[in-house]
């Protein structure tokens, strides 16, 4: 597929870049006070892009001399990222932190990150992998340090830059070795080459894969590559923290699924639900080890936090761990489970962050004592936060439980050797109950009951409801999501 021909399949991204350019120009035309409109412009543009993606359903081809692919799997993640960005942008318009800054660049950067993520989810070429990671990372460095006057935001930006550059540097070095060993940058050629390489090259290959793992781990914030997460999440503006905790993570998971199943395994899992792939390189137990440490560290350290944003940072690390649990199983079911978990995770995590933003707008505080007696003062916030916390713990009848249920189901179906993972996953959810419920306890059980009832501003309330209702509904009746994920499980497979 030559570049010109593939342009005709590439119209969603074209629309997106048009929107980004439009936003930049629009930002130049208007003055600081009305810079919020750029946000609305971006949201409108993203909706158009979403429509375009839906039009493209179930065409399966490679584009731009097979550096990226267009398949329902990629479309699913693109839609997910667009949905997350729309929600975050609407809330960013209300967020108190950004009120005295120009928001123009803020939204354009968000648009560019979305573009980077579009590339990330559809890449089948090492060059495109590095390119997409760099696009997303650089834009998020800036966004993390967006609040110039606030020293913590600067510190967050700095840490993110150095840490990000360092990790992608190591990843690049690993990529160079893989290129060297297999002689190509295309996934399918690499897979073919690795399959034919004699086992002596395995150690080098594994070293290279581990270096690549640094890059993936940094993006997904899996332990031991997660060190930037707590500080950046705490320092960055809360809206960006919300965005970072879901969109880049989803993109990275898509890329990992494609890379680990397509390149390091025979791609069998791509066939559909009951298929599974056989690893060429033994990467399964490293990933399960990583998953266990990530989950456990995330939950255990979160117990200690008394800043809610930092607690949610560790909780997002823990949830990355839960999703990583399913990776080593390498079956169609496990991919299915991760995708469902991401959808559920999107709603509950964004919801929790939106509540933190709403409270920050009202009381300016992030620590547990600022939340004392909040359940009585703002009942709507209290109830919503309880739903999110319960869902994050993974209790039925909320979406979180369904996510975990699928992950555990895929693990148990995967065979005897994964049962202990389920056990550890279960115990972690029990431990996580304590710090999630601590928020609820502080809001309802401590602090005296104030008679005056406050309501959050309407748009904020709408957004919180927009995430709370799906968290509960998807916990009870989630067939539509299940079907959507099921028929987006088709991949572009090229056998050489």
């Amino acid at each position: 597929m030559t570049n010109l021909q593939s342009l005709s399949y590439y119209y969603p991204e074209l629309i997106l870049s048009g929107v980004i350019l439009g936003a930049i120009i629009y930002d130049l035309l208007i003055d600081k006070s009305k810079s919020g409109n750029v946000g609305w412009f971006l949201i409108a543009g993203l909706m158009a892009v979403a429509g375009a993606i839906c039009l493209q359903d179930d065409t399966v081809t490679t584009l731009f001399t097979n550096s990226i692919v267009l398949d329902p799997f990629a479309s699913f993640f693109k839609l997910l990222v667009v949905l997350a960005t729309i929600l975050v942008s609407v809330v960013s318009l209300q967020s108190g932190e950004l009120s005295e800054y120009r928001k123009g660049e803020y939204f354009t950067l968000l648009g560019i990150i979305v573009f980077g993520l579009f590339l990330m989810v559809s890449t089948v070429d090492l060059i495109m992998v590095y390119l997409s990671i760099e696009i997303v990372s650089i834009m998020s460095f800036v966004l993390a340090g967006y609040l110039k006057q606030n020293t913590r935001s600067n510190e967050a930006g700095l840490k993110y830059v150095v840490y990000g550059a360092f990790s992608s540097g190591i990843m690049l070095f690993g990529l160079s070795y893989i290129y060297g060993l297999t002689g190509s940058t295309n996934y399918f050629e690499i897979q073919h080459a690795i399959a034919n390489l004699d086992t002596s090259a395995n150690t080098a290959l594994i070293m290279a894969t581990i270096m690549m793992l640094v890059g993936f781990g940094y993006k997904v914030s899996a332990v031991p590559f997660h060190f930037w997460t707590p500080d950046v999440y705490e320092g960055a503006p809360t809206t960006i923290t919300a965005f970072l905790s879901i969109a880049p993570k989803a993109g990275a998971f898509a890329m990992m699924i494609r890379f680990f199943n397509q390149v390091l395994a025979d791609g069998g899992a791509m066939g559909g639900l009951d298929t599974s792939s056989i690893a060429i390189l033994p990467w399964a137990n490293i990933l399960s080890l990583l998953a266990v440490i990530t989950m456990t560290l995330g939950n255990v350290v979160a117990l200690q936090q008394n800043n809610i944003k930092r607690m949610l940072a560790y909780s997002s690390i823990a949830h990355a761990g839960y999703m990583l649990l399913a990776m080593p199983v390498m079956s169609g079911d496990s991919i299915y489970a991760i995708m469902i978990y991401l959808v559920m995770y999107l709603f509950m995590n964004l919801g929790a962050f939106f509540v933190v933003i709403a409270v920050k707008n009202k009381t300016g505080g992030e620590t547990f004592d600022d939340y004392k007696g909040l359940g009585w003062e703002m009942p709507m916030i209290g109830v919503a936060m309880t739903i999110f916390m319960v869902s994050l713990t993974g209790l039925p009848p909320t979406a979180g439980f369904i996510g975990k249920f699928y992950i555990f189901a895929s693990l148990i179906k995967g065979g005897g050797q994964f049962y202990w993972l389920v056990l550890i996953g279960g115990i972690n959810s029990v431990v996580s109950l304590y710090y999630y419920l601590r928020v609820v306890k502080v809001m309802f059980l401590e602090g005296e009951r104030s008679e005056t009832i406050l309501q959050p501003p309407t748009i904020m309330a709408v957004m919180i409801l927009a995430t709370a209702i799906p968290t509960v509904i998807l916990g009870i009746y989630w067939t539509p999501v299940a079907d959507w994920v099921q028929n987006s499980l088709t991949f572009f497979i090229q056998t050489l």
Binding site: T386, L395, I412, K413, V430, L445
Partner: protein, 514 residues
């Protein structure tokens, strides 16, 4: 009423819906709505009892609706001899619980909404015949309990609430693993009835972690249920939760929540893994014995009346465990002693019901004295018999029912458990008869310290038990007395289902396959 069971489950939710729209300050209106809802629910259970055909032991009033086809999860409801008495008990105690919590004045709307949600959860567990639905309702109960203990409880309520939640959640996580294991090894279905046919053979060959799958899944599910019963090693949450929970909630907690554990074991463990029953029944009887002795001794040493009653629940549930272990008497290994199996199992289910009514009565009475004297220290009272004769009379009856005096239902179920378990577990039963002595000791000693002796002048003006409290206690007392004198109506109700369970376990269990 064709889908009477769905009505039974979702009626409280309708109640919650109505309560949600009532303004916060109209406390009485909220209470009335809650009372009406639970009242209707109780009437519905009586209607259910009326046209329940006691002759056939199988599932009746079945309801089926597809829910999540992709994971083969269906909304199945059904009731049989095992779950019907529990449903009636739940509806009754919830109805009475509303009146026991009539003087709650803090965040009344929240309290009664959560109360009704708890009611839905419990009835849902008893009626659901789909394992996934069973698990959903099992977990739905946890949150309201956490808030009800956490917000309206005693001084150490948060600690008690979080501990209760952590304990039960740990159990239910293990259960989830068990459920998934069963789902995948028995042909991807959650329908309990299908599992009942498929599971015994499907699990026989499998091994998990090197051990036979039946043993592993049995233990996983058993731990999940045992925490609720509570069985000895997992019981430390019970006294704390009881002491800190408000009266109405400890009535529900002791009255029904403990029975969920036993119901789960009987319905799931006995239904799906008959080989497991054979393998584990010895341990079950031993655990029952430990429960009896440990609960009895702890109760003997308590100074807080509510903790004493909580430990007495541990003691009484010990008898249920022993009764349940008697089921293997009907197997060939023990000479097809159907008499003992029926006595044991029937006694266990009857004991579940009786302990429900008796411990509910005890907790209400503890609540009555607590509202007046604002403390529950047994030593602190003295000579109340002169001051509150009616209250003393009722408490005396409750205490004697508790220690298993004939003429009250407690005695019959305990006797049946012992008689049932005796042929197979002579030593354990003889040792656990010590339990009825311990029962008598701690109940009478507590009764003496509170009611006999000189009237402690501090309580010169303690008001007598009022009509509302009487209204909550007397029905329970009459039930205990009626079933104590003439237990046939209850036993006829459950006997056909008991036979179904016994035959199911005995016929499908191949003792050799362990």
């Amino acid at each position: 009423m064709e889908n009477i069971l769905s009505w039974l489950i979702w009626m409280p939710v309708i109640g919650i819906g109505i309560i949600a729209f009532i303004p916060r300050d109209k406390n009485d209106l909220i209470k009335i709505i809650a009372a009406v809802t639970t009242g209707l629910q109780f009437l519905l259970t009586l209607v259910l009892w009326q046209n329940y055909d006691a002759g056939n032991g199988g599932m009746q009033f079945m309801e089926r609706a597809t829910w999540i086809p992709s994971f083969n999860i269906t909304y199945i409801l059904g009731v049989d001899g095992l779950s019907l008495p529990m449903v009636i008990l739940t509806a009754l105690l919830c109805f009475i619980g509303i009146f026991v919590s009539w003087n709650i004045n803090k965040a009344v709307k929240g309290y009664f909404a959560l109360f009704l949600l708890l009611d839905t959860g419990i009835i849902g567990v008893f009626l659901s015949m789909d394992f996934f639905l069973f698990y959903i309702f099992w977990e739905v109960m946890l949150l309201p309990m956490y808030f009800l203990i956490g917000m309206w409880g005693g001084p150490q309520r948060e600690y008690a609430a979080i501990k209760f939640f952590l304990y039960t959640l740990f159990g239910s996580v293990l259960m989830l693993i068990g459920i998934l294991g069963l789902y995948f090894s028995c042909g991807n279905t959650f329908d309990i009835q299908v599992l009942m046919e498929v599971a015994p053979d499907a699990l026989r060959g499998l091994t998990w972690w090197g051990m036979s799958a039946i043993k592993v899944i049995w233990v996983l599910l058993f731990v999940g249920f045992a925490i609720k019963v509570p069985v000895f090693p997992f019981h430390t949450w019970l006294p704390l939760a009881h002491v800190e929970a408000p009266t109405a909630i400890s009535v529900l907690l002791a009255g029904i929540l403990l029975k969920l554990g036993v119901y789960g074991i009987l319905r799931i463990n006995y239904g799906l893994m008959p080989d497991g029953v054979y393998w584990f029944s010895g341990a079950l009887a031993a655990l029952g014995l430990i429960n009896v002795i440990w609960g009895g001794l702890c109760a003997l040493a308590q100074t807080d009346l509510k903790k004493l009653v909580a430990y007495s629940s541990v003691n009484h549930m010990g008898y249920t465990l022993i009764g349940m272990a008697a089921i293997i008497a009907a197997g060939e290994a023990n000479g097809l002693n159907l008499k003992a199996a029926q006595a044991g199992l029937g006694g266990a289910v009857f004991q579940m019901f009786n302990h429900g009514t008796i411990s509910a009565m005890l907790f209400i009475l503890v609540g009555v004295i607590y509202d007046r004297a604002h403390h529950r220290d047994i030593e602190g009272f003295g000579g109340l018999a002169a001051q509150m004769p009616i209250y003393t009379g009722i408490t005396a009856v409750a205490f004697f029912a508790g220690l298993g005096l004939p003429g009250f239902s407690g005695f019959i179920s305990e006797a049946m458990c012992f008689i049932g378990a005796f042929p197979v577990y002579k030593g354990i039963v003889i040792a656990s008869t010590l339990g009825i002595l311990l029962n008598a000791a701690y109940f009478l000693w507590a009764f003496q310290r509170i009611f006999f002796g000189e009237l402690n002048e501090k309580y010169k003006d303690l008001p007598e038990i009022n009509r509302l409290e009487l209204f909550t206690v007397v029905p329970l007392l009459l039930i205990t007395l009626f079933f104590g004198i003439y237990p046939a109506p209850f036993l006829n109700l459950i006997s056909s289902t008991m036979d179904v369970i016994i035959n199911h376990v005995v016929s499908l269990a191949t003792f050799a396959s362990m």
